[in-house]
């Protein structure tokens, strides 16, 4: 039992100091009927590092890593190259094994990177202020609707049909118990919905994803104006944060709250978690924000330092009157994000976005040339193609090769016959020309 330092002699000595006859005696408050005298039956006993590694490696080997074959999977999770230094620095024990920075004198490292992270998120979203992270993009989206309701004192949110269905569902689950009225527009594969028409004087916010689930990109300025004319807020969702290196910032288009999935920068796919919710807004709304905030201050010597601040919004102070119940967030994922973005810098971040876009254009052109129908006029690094027959069946078939051909829309919008032949195809800097040719061959040649 390599993680347990006490010896049997230690235990006896300690029991003597306590004056207890046995460790069992320390559990005397447990009702007798609920006390267990033995380790729980039917479970294996302790194992060495080698044995555990062997067992879990076997399970890992039964999965097909996205990096081991041509992969075009996106829809809210993207495979990007993370520089080696990110993970090396991330595992420094002073970062990895520290707690939430409640004692600022011994956590200036965490606090300073959170302050830098908040600034980076504000810059790329074009907003005034960002928090220290949420669980993921979907929970951030739900929190944005609740925040918009607090700000506007209204109770009706309009969700775009281009919003990722999982974001829609998390928002519906979270806000449904509070009686929020959600107006959910139907799936919008062609990017033609009229969101402005759905706004009325009871609308607290419009939630729009850009690029949409189907990859469409839009200038949101007219929508922002339509929202503001009716006293509603515009909530912009970004599921591929690399797009912010090329697309106009949501802030510049009039967004009031921006939420994003930050996984693309610094964080691996990890089968869907842990991920990183980004949350940014205007200065005037900061006291209605959920989540932790790091702020600048000075120490007793007048030197600059950082602390958690505006905590009177939070559960540990306000209890049932808090803006959210969130406590633990995605600190280490935020660290990975901020380190990767620091490495990229202005040149790297804008260059990475342009590289992603150019490769996506290249693949779209190759597919079109092979006779595959691409639905999008404009897109960033993901677009929708129409295949012959059922897209999910096609994807399953190609997985055997293996080619991870993309996400069939039916996996996210099940039971809609008109969407069954649609496939979401994502391209990143990790996609090679050989990968592209394999997909073109599979979609264009074999159908």
């Amino acid at each position: 039992m390599r993680y347990l330092p006490l010896t049997e002699a230690d235990r006896q000595e300690m029991l003597a100091a306590i004056g207890a006859p046995s460790v069992d005696a320390l559990f005397g408050d447990v009702p007798a009927a609920a006390r267990l005298d033995q380790p729980i039956a039917g479970l294996p006993n302790h194992q060495g590092e080698l044995q555990v590694e062997r067992a879990l490696s076997r399970l890992a080997a039964r999965n097909v890593p996205a990096g081991s074959c041509p992969s075009f999977l996106g829809a809210g999770a993207y495979r990007h190259h993370v520089p080696a230094s990110v993970d090396q620095l991330l595992t420094r024990g002073e970062f990895l094994t520290s707690y939430t920075p409640y004692q600022p004198e011994v956590t200036q490292g965490t606090l300073q990177y959170l302050f830098e992270f908040q600034t980076q998120v504000a810059l790329i979203t074009g907003m005034d202020v960002a928090n220290a992270s949420m669980y993921d993009g979907a929970t951030a989206c739900a929190e944005a609707v609740l925040m918009a309701n607090r700000v506007t004192r209204r109770n009706r949110a309009v969700l775009s049909g281009g919003l990722h269905p999982h974001y829609r569902d998390v928002t519906a689950t979270t806000t449904g118990v509070l009686g929020v009225d959600l107006v959910t527009l139907p799936a919008d594969p062609k990017g033609i919905e009229d969101l402005a028409a759905a706004i009325d004087d009871k609308t607290s916010c419009v939630v729009v994803q850009n690029p949409t689930l189907f990859g469409h990109v839009a200038d949101l300025t007219p929508l922002a104006e339509a929202c503001h004319a009716k006293g509603a807020l515009l909530v912009v969702v970004v599921t591929e944060v690399v797009s912010l290196g090329m697309m106009p910032s949501p802030g510049s288009m009039g967004a009031d709250i921006v939420v994003a999935e930050g996984q693309s920068i610094g964080n691996g796919l990890n089968f869907g978690g842990p991920y990183l919710g980004l949350f940014a807004t205007r200065d005037k709304f900061v006291r209605q924000m959920p989540g932790r905030l790091c702020g600048e201050t000075v120490d007793a010597d007048g030197k600059r330092g950082f602390v958690l601040t505006l905590s009177t919004r939070e559960q540990h102070i306000r209890r049932e009157k808090a803006t959210s119940n969130i406590c633990t967030n995605s600190g280490l994922c935020a660290l990975a994000f901020t380190m990767h973005l620091s490495l990229l810098g202005e040149v790297g971040f804008t260059g990475l976005a342009r590289l992603n876009h150019a490769k996506a254009v290249q693949l779209a052109d190759k597919l079109a040339a092979a006779g595959v129908s691409v639905l999008n006029q404009g897109f960033f690094n993901e677009f929708t193609v129409q295949v012959k027959g059922d897209a999910a069946a096609l994807v399953d078939r190609l997985a055997a090769e293996p080619i991870l051909a993309g996400v069939p829309v039916s996996r996210l919008h099940p039971g809609q016959a008109d969407l069954a032949d649609l496939l979401l195809v994502a391209v990143t800097e990790t996609t090679t020309e050989d990968d592209m040719d394999a997909l073109v061959q599979a979609l264009g040649g074999k159908q």
């Binding site: 006490l6 996205a66 920075p101 254009v361």
Partner: protein, 517 residues
Amino acid sequence: MNTQGRKTTPDVESAAATDVGTYTGNRALVHEEPLIFELDNPGVTGVDLEAAPAVASRLGGLKAREGIGLPGLSEPTVVRHYTRLSQKNLGIDSTMYPLGSCTMKHNPRLNEKLARLPGFGDIHPMQPQSTVQGALELIDQLAHWLKTLTGMPAVAMSPAAGAHGELCGLMAIRAALQARGETGRTRVLVPESAHGTNPATAAFCGFTVDAIPAEANGRVSVEAVKAKLGPDVACIMLTNPNTCGLFEPQVKEIADAVHAAGGYFYCDGANYNAIVGRVRPADLGVDAMHINLHKTFSTPHGGGGPGSGPVVLSDALAPYAPLPYVVHGADGFRLVEHEGEVEQGAQPFGRMKAFHGQMGMFVRALAYIMSHGADGLRQASSDAVLNANYLKARLQDLMSVPFDGYCMHEALFDDRFLKDTGVTTLDFAKAMIDEGFHPMTMYFPLVVHGAFLIEPTETESKATLDQFVGAMRHLAGKAKAGDAAHFLAAPRYTPRRRLDETAAARKPVLRWAPPAV
């Protein structure tokens, strides 16, 4: 825990400013490190990208963005920056970190290694399920351990953290009440000693919160609960072992009373680490309990997350578990992602998270659990409780104890022993920093004045505990001897001395901005 709203600067003039007298302001191993924005060298980058294919942009008429304002840094600058920042942090790797309720135990590195295997770290949540059978099996194996250890029939794996798990449990309760047609049950009972997340979650889930007072012995009594029960009560949220570090001796009676009144028992499992392998929550009448994998099962806290908060559920609540979840069928493991795919009787209340849960944390937790095994997990909780009782026994003559008797995994003290010394709990905590320890949780639970909540965990050796006892006794003696100045000036040896939290909140500066020219 928090110090917000509390004065953090000492009342008397502290010792003179620590002018180190070096040219750089550095102190040997401790560097003054600027913000990344102040290190900006425009045009420099730490990432080399291949040339983009020459194609015309197709951004739907949008103009490509310029001038974001991100700083340019090379890889060596970045590596040094974060290395220096790390040196301004304490972690469990550095020292004993006895934050009560937070369970700062050793984080085995095997777990980090395994979570990074491409077969776990590089799989996409939307891959065809035939290509992720090992991942689904891992989730199923971890679920099996959690169910067997707790004795509960079901577990919802997707919640992202403890508070998220609380929300999951309360939503399941809400759904079950709705299915029973009892929508009038809108009140949730929460003891005064509860974590702040409990009342916050209840409110976040649309319930009203009714506080149950703590008894003089730090426990919740069945009488106090009964006095609050009624036809409008949805559930009780009870932490067990509780936030005072005590096992609730009447927990079963409380559960029975709540059930008899038609309510459910939500157990806050933040302190489950004290009883793993010694008590099964199912035997206490629990209907739902979250398990903080980042506490009990040692996934790293990471400076504030990510966590993971699976929720074990009783038969009464199991049908309402959220999507998605893993089932084992004839042809392998399958992820149930939509309402149209659920088995007979299941009525999932919705979805908690974009994807399937905190897979990276699942791998680490399962590696930890398998390393310990059934025997080791029981030994770990036994040692955690032994360590806490040892600290209590060695300190109770000098420090004041609010509740007599054995404790569980946390030793709780109050600030009576500091009466008339001019030293507060906060001052004492800052002096512990100078002694090389991370402070305990302070001012929580709220039911104890000036609380010191000390959780050593099972991974501290007796030698470390003895050194900690020595330091605490030294400090308690110093306070009682009238040396308040020692505490008011602390910490002295940290990269920053006490930080002005009041000023930070009064005029918030939440991001860097270029200096005004």
